[in-house]
């Protein structure tokens, strides 16, 4: 039995709850995984039950009231850290929004949980972007697992592919389109919109983060680059080490000029000698040159040439699916939890 504390109950948290409901039998039969969410909190409220929260009722409550506090008869004010420090559990799942200033509240959640001996699955990139090397050390020191496969590529297991499927092979460098929102905007600009129109369309579709600079200025792509560089290339870097330039200054002229060279302008995150996020021209027939909200990454390997993985970069169910993968990994690596 894995007892879980879930931080954040937005799109990803709710999708994860739905996934657990729909897959519970299959997960037990195929992987021996029995998971029970014992605590959930977000910025507005919390719900807890050591016997396991009724996820159907929790989802219903959220839908009716836009808030989970009413899950209990008496409204409970969320105090996430109290829950993390007080409840019996094995795993913390961190899904609160990424923040690249101080990484809070996710940083405190993760650090507190690991200090208490909880394994952590995070899809929040903030703590990793600001402190990847020290969080890995803290996990090792406390002998807990820290998993984050949903932070890069959403449901597309890019990190796993590079680390495991390519074992015995050396990755020399890589470059990728790691942010779907900016790719959507640049694709629309290639279709004739100007930057402002394309941004406004992306906002209408719900693709843009509440703080638009996270996408537009390249913070999100830079955070993913930090995670890839640490995890795959054994670098010890943070977001401060990334040379970063967003897409705000990309003009329709740049895009037209690129097209005359049979290329497209894409926001590329690359790890070669330097770590850099910036708009660059990519040949139209390069497998990396994908459109819409797709993400893509090309690994340059020593013996197997270039390998490109393309997939949806985000989405609640995709990310929830990556959390499940991490849970299964923890179960496998730790043994009985």
């Amino acid at each position: 039995m894995v007892r879980i504390i879930l931080c954040g109950f937005g799109v990803v948290g709710q999708s994860f709850a739905k996934l657990l409901l729909s897959r519970s039998e299959d997960l037990y039969a195929k992987h021996g995984l029995k998971a029970r969410i014992v605590g959930v909190f977000d910025s507005k409220g919390s719900a807890a039950s050591s016997a396991g929260i009724d996820l159907n009722r929790l989802l219903e409550t959220k839908k009716l009231y836009g808030n989970i506090a009413k899950y209990h008869n008496k409204e409970k004010k969320a105090n996430g850290l109290d829950m993390i420090n007080g409840m019996e559990a094995e795993v913390l799942i961190e899904t609160t929004p990424s923040n690249y200033k101080d990484a809070e509240p996710g940083m405190s959640h993760i650090v507190s949980a690991m200090k208490r001996g909880l394994h952590v699955v995070t899809v929040n990139k903030g703590p990793l972007a600001l402190a990847f090397p020290s969080l890995i050390e803290l996990a090792a020191y406390n002998q807990v697992q820290l998993k984050f496969s949903g932070t890069v590529g959403g449901g597309t297991p890019i990190l796993d592919y590079a680390k495991n499927s390519l074992r015995g092979e050396r990755i020399v460098s890589f470059q990728g389109i790691l942010n779907g929102t900016t790719n959507y905007i640049l694709t629309n600009m290639a279709g004739g919109m100007n930057f402002k129109e394309a941004l406004s369309d992306a906002k209408k579709k719900g693709y843009v983060e509440a703080d638009e600079s996270l996408d537009i200025e390249g913070f999100d792509a830079a955070a993913k680059l930090v995670i890839l560089a640490n995890w795959i290339m054994d670098m010890k870097v943070t977001i401060m080490d990334i040379k970063r330039k967003g897409i705000r200054d990309v003009t329709t002229t740049d895009i037209t000029n690129a097209r005359s060279r049979r290329s497209a302008v894409k926001l590329i995150a690359s790890c070669n000698r330097d770590l850099e996020v910036s708009p660059r021209e990519i040949p139209l027939d390069d497998p990396l040159c994908v459109n819409g909200t797709l993400n893509a990454i090309t690994f340059n390997s020593e013996h197997s040439g270039q390998q490109t993985i393309i997939g949806r970069g985000a989405g609640g169910m995709e990310t929830a699916s990556s959390i499940l993968r991490d849970l299964l990994d923890i179960k496998q690596e730790v043994g009985k939890i």
Copy 2:
């Protein structure tokens, strides 16, 4: 110490020998793998040494005489099965040419080796295409590992990605360009050549199998589809179950018509309800629509949407790299060998 018998010393076998030479220190330091080739044979000769063959001298011999028999002072006639049945070894690596009639000589090599308790790494697709389900059973019965990651995607670990990186996820269907030679021909036809010219150009480049029908008639793609269907979808099928149509009848008119619909004609192997290899139109902006000798496959997953992997499909060093990956896997799964 892993003692290896290597069947076949063509491009792949030689690349593997070179890879072992260049990586031996690193393999031991990073993965604890010490590998020694104790026997090598091909259709023209053989070399054996229980203390380990001097790979530099073996490669030199092959280069000078086009034959490895002169590795010893007296010329030795190859008798592969005697070697497999007589020598002390832990792993058989099978790299002889694929054959879709009776899968020989690879089939006898693999079956004899497994019966003797040797683990097997094969990049020869013939035995798997004709008898995947029974070979898997034979491996289980003899408690040996049967690995074949180089049979699909060359150095691109497609099988591993689908089986492992997507664990906890369900693959519903997939479709791919699994043969680089036909993709090269179709790409050249899209560039203006007719089929005959494009085939002749591919032959000049050394991309076409000695028996051209293996590529052109879709046997190679069908064999890979069999392996994917068995391994990833848990089907129990052989090449007899594949609906197969090659590219010989594709005309420049078909290709021009496709382009007017912003599509390209590709030889697609698909697993949906049916298993089929045939030329089909793919939209130009589909990530699957790659050119030249590239391979690509799109997995349709239940929760993570479509995921596409693109890479070089073949090449001596790429395939050798996949053999190394399989060896590392065997070492990890079996423990001390």
